[in-house]
Amino acid sequence: MKFVSELKEKISFTKAFFITMLLIYLLIAFFNFNKFIKIANFFSSIIFKILPVLVLIFILMFLVNYFVSPKLILKHFNKAGGLVGWIIMVLGGVLSSGPIYMWYPLLADLKKKGVKQGFIATFLYNRAIKVPLMPLFLIYFDFKMLLVLTFVMIVFSIIQGLIINYLEDEKVL
């Protein structure tokens, strides 16, 4: 039992998932090689489709990492307010990169400084719009959908911000 619990700790979910997939593929290859070839062909077709795009994603991520930082967004937000404040939060969310926990200190700092929580919600919603990942989106969906979805999401991020600001005014938050 101790061995099992130690093993559980050592193998993360992702690794366990990957190993399970490998084992399933091995079993299929052993019992039905033709089926395995068919599956492997489909697998490789997806891989070859996304590999070149991953290079482009890397370049775009690098550029965003280089030019955008939590400090930069805070600096601009502090100077602004009103409509410009909303625009900065939308742009900040869209351009922010890296894991969300990296941005929590900035958001907590904004909250402490009395920034209304709706702005924070708008920032978080717009983190869903990832410019570096757009090339991958375009493999499966068209440019028109990309534009429409981005626009609708930005509008709803502001609606969410306004709702949260209203609830904050009503002391619900």
Binding site: N65, Y66, K130, L136, Q160
Partner: protein
């Protein structure tokens, strides 16, 4: 250009892709398996063709699952090829990136429980509305 910053930015970008690569690989392996073993008629049993119900199902699945948006695009794109409605796929992708059940505890502690709760609830509802609205506009344009 600042050499240190260039290196830091490149490492961060590489790590971001590398950290999700194993999960991405596993998901693609799973998609290939599904493609081979699950007939397209199976999906039509889950997704009814009703835009509202399909978008709710998509949003629920997207809210429960988490990870890099890259993964959601690939899952969504491949499911679209299997004949699942675009509304369900868009609701799935939007919920995947806007609803954060896994980050909920951290978000509650840092930004407040009520804030995290209302933000995630509205994000879930918005995933459905955004999907319905986006696909409708997309079809009109």
């Amino acid at each position: 250009m600042n050499k240190v910053k260039v290196k830091q930015s490149a490492v961060k970008a590489f790590k971001s892709i590398w950290n999700s690569s194993l999960l991405l690989l596993s998901i693609i392996m799973l998609i290939a398996l599904f493609n081979s073993f699950i007939p397209k008629s199976f999906y039509s049993k889950i997704f009814t063709g009703n835009p509202l119900i399909d978008s709710i199902i998509g949003a629920v699945v997207g809210s429960v699952l988490a990870g890099n948006p890259i993964t959601s695009y690939i899952i969504g794109g491949e499911l679209l090829k299997q004949g699942i409605s675009l509304i369900a796929i868009i609701a799935f992708i939007v919920a995947w990136v806007t609803v954060g059940l896994i980050q909920f505890p951290a978000e509650s502690i840092i930004l407040g429980k009520n804030f995290a709760l209302i933000r995630n609830l509205t994000s879930f509802v918005f995933a459905i509305i955004v999907a319905l609205l986006s696909v409708s506009i997309w079809m009109i344009l």
